[in-house]
Assembly symmetry: C2
Homo-oligomer: 411 residues x 2
């Protein structure tokens, strides 16, 4: 992946103090040297990584964590806001996503402060929120259409900055994207909506009115970028004449943001051994034997998937750093593997013991059930050791770190 980016898009596309919207090339590629098919492949490849990172975020939310992500997508008609919602959010579990699009305010919304409806729609802990339009409409369309006086909207920039800061301080990562199409590309996209009977529902007669205010919108957007691209919530302007490019960028940002959050599976507050014992009291010996027979493969597969994600994350996070950083990151991963393997050994030992007490004849004799016994791993034959052997293992052993490498990765 890194090969196709000449620079980190989070830096290239970030709005700094010198940003000039008028000079911005809306057909550029912000440091990406690939083609459409490369982008599609990269987005698909990110799918598995994103799916697990998002589940970790969600799991942490359920376990009492406060972190979440808010993606704000702004842009004029046809810029591709809906496509981002559809294609990028479509990569992750819909249960962990809070999508919201903000149109013309309802009478109830209008009767409140402009942030009222926005606050109500914020993602919950563990969620990834996506706003298709947002509170920025209150300094864009509201300004261009002169729905309030300049002294009203001009005070909102500061207010927005402060409010966004409070969100960031309470655990929200805010990613702000402005999709910028060129004037002629917008015309071609509107024309396609007119030409295709299956897309006419997307066209509104007001689109041409908004288009007539193009220059006023560019000016309003310039002020938004100048006044609200803060250190805690910077703007990123995406050249949106190429739809696949903006989708790639948002996918990449989301992935890298989740990686930086360094999310791990939450540790439970209860003891697995105690719960397992209570659960077994409700099981038939046959069901326990079936569960035991699947344990090793299931857990090792999950472990490999989880470690693959950590490796991909470490790779992305450290590829420009020195070897020492990389070594540290990969040492941490090996520690995780050791944790999983020890945990699995404990699990197997307990389940065998519980089954032994219920129905000794169902306990499998295969010593390779014991994942962390190097001797057992090396033994060629099956069923060469007694079932009881497993009891004494799993303590103080180094994880045989390649033991599960062959396990199929969970899809």
């Amino acid at each position: 992946m890194a090969d196709l980016w000449t620079s980190d898009p989070r830096e290239t596309l970030r709005v700094g103090p010198d940003f000039d919207l008028a000079a911005f090339d809306r057909a550029s590629r912000g440091g990406f040297t690939g083609k459409k098919r490369d982008a599609e492949r990269l987005i698909a490849e990110r799918g598995a990584l994103l799916a697990e990172l998002q589940e970790r975020l969600y799991a942490n939310g359920r376990a009492g964590g406060t972190e979440n992500v808010l993606i704000i997508v702004q842009g004029l008609d046809t810029a591709g806001k809906g496509g981002i919602a559809r294609h990028v959010m479509g990569l992750v579990d819909p249960q962990g996503v809070a999508l919201r699009s903000f149109g013309v305010p309802t009478p109830e919304e209008r009767s409140h402060h402009y942030l009222w409806r926005i606050k109500k729609a914020l993602p919950k802990p563990g969620q990834i929120g996506l706003f298709d339009r947002s509170h920025y409409e209150d300094v864009l369309v509201v300004r261009v259409d002169e729905l309030v006086e300049p002294e009203v909207w001009s005070k909102r920039f500061d207010e927005i900055n402060k409010w966004e800061k409070s969100l960031v301080d309470s655990g929200t990562r805010i990613l702000k994207f402005a999709l910028m199409v060129s004037y002629q590309e917008q015309a071609k996209r509107l024309m396609e909506r007119l030409d295709r009977p299956d897309k006419r529902w997307k066209y509104s007669m007001s689109d041409l009115k908004t288009r007539a205010n193009w220059d006023a919108y560019q000016e309003a957007y310039s002020d938004v970028f100048r006044l609200t691209s803060t250190a805690h919530a910077p703007w990123h302007v995406l050249p949106a004449d190429t739809k696949w490019f903006s989708r790639l960028v948002v996918t990449e940002f989301l992935t890298r943001t989740l990686i930086e959050m360094d999310l791990q599976w939450p540790r439970p507050r209860w003891q697995p051994e105690a719960q397992r014992k209570r659960l077994v009291a409700t099981m038939t010996p046959q069901a326990l034997a079936e569960s035991l027979s699947e344990t090793k493969a299931t857990v090792l597969e999950a472990m490999e998937a989880s470690i693959d994600v950590n490796e991909d994350a470490a790779e992305l996070k450290t590829h420009r750093y020195d070897d020492l950083s990389r070594d540290a990151a990969f040492a941490a991963i090996e520690a995780k593997r050791a944790f999983w393997e020890n945990d699995l050994a404990t699990t197997l030992r307990q389940k065998r013991e519980l089954l032994q007490a219920l129905a000794p004849e169902l306990v499998p004799a295969d010593p390779s059930m014991n994942v962390s016994t190097p001797k057992a791993d090396k033994s060629a034959g099956k069923a060469s050791r007694s079932a009881g052997k497993g009891k004494s293992s799993g303590k103080g052993k180094k994880g045989s770190s390649k033991g599960g490498k062959k396990a199929k990765k969970s899809s």
Copy 2:
């Protein structure tokens, strides 16, 4: 698809007056003769069809239609409710989906009528809503845990039936699914959550408490099925010991429900010709020429995709009916094709005229731009006719119905 179903699952799995939960086989396949890989293939195949049907539903909602779909998923812990949300809803555009899961009520929710929080979460017109648990918790956990007196919960069945009837009468299709796992399968799934460090966050110590009330829940579910499987909103009980099977069933139900709704693309209230003229006034001749050059391929591709969906729908809808019904369904599709082709001819003619007025030198000479002129379709050479020729066509012609068959289907 039909080949692998010995019967329509909507009938086989429907709860009728004789339904007996105790006798229900939770590992059965409700008339499906395929295997897991068949189910996965069929779910993936439904993807394209579902995606377009859902977009039509959404488009109709935006155009003022009131119809929507509400999927209610009930089941005890580990039954696979979340998997339905993830895998089935993951097939369609997240923008058209309203997912909601109902846990223990908040203090605010508890202070209101039990339907208050449910009503607030109903899908909007054009949306597909999915409830992971629902108002049925108020006659299930509330009953089993004795949170209210029997005279309170026992009155709710009637109230729920009447309320659901009012929803159906106002345009909502309600699909109610109860995922029923067996007692031993639930134990094995809970055990997996204990065994896998990456799934422990899904386990709650209260799961064993709920499991201890298994018989009381079966009795409560039996009453739900007996008292609330109405003609307007019947229950379907899914054997949930096989996860892929319940996902297949819900996918199939959703597809067939959307097909029965017979959704078409809404017709706009404005005239495309008038809007196009206004739009062209804002375009460069070059942009218009580029748009014109893409029109035919773009519209034909969309037409083929749209007609494929109508054909698949007609196939599923009529495959057990007589030939006359099928003929009628396919005649309606040919009429749609004629509409698209006439519409395209009008579009091409107008765009050529508009370009002619702006920059005659940019008007392509290729007469094959005109889709509905049989003569032009037959002409072998390119650029053999004058550009002006297109003007007189597109009226009273029969659509050359195979004209666009070769267009690539939109993915």
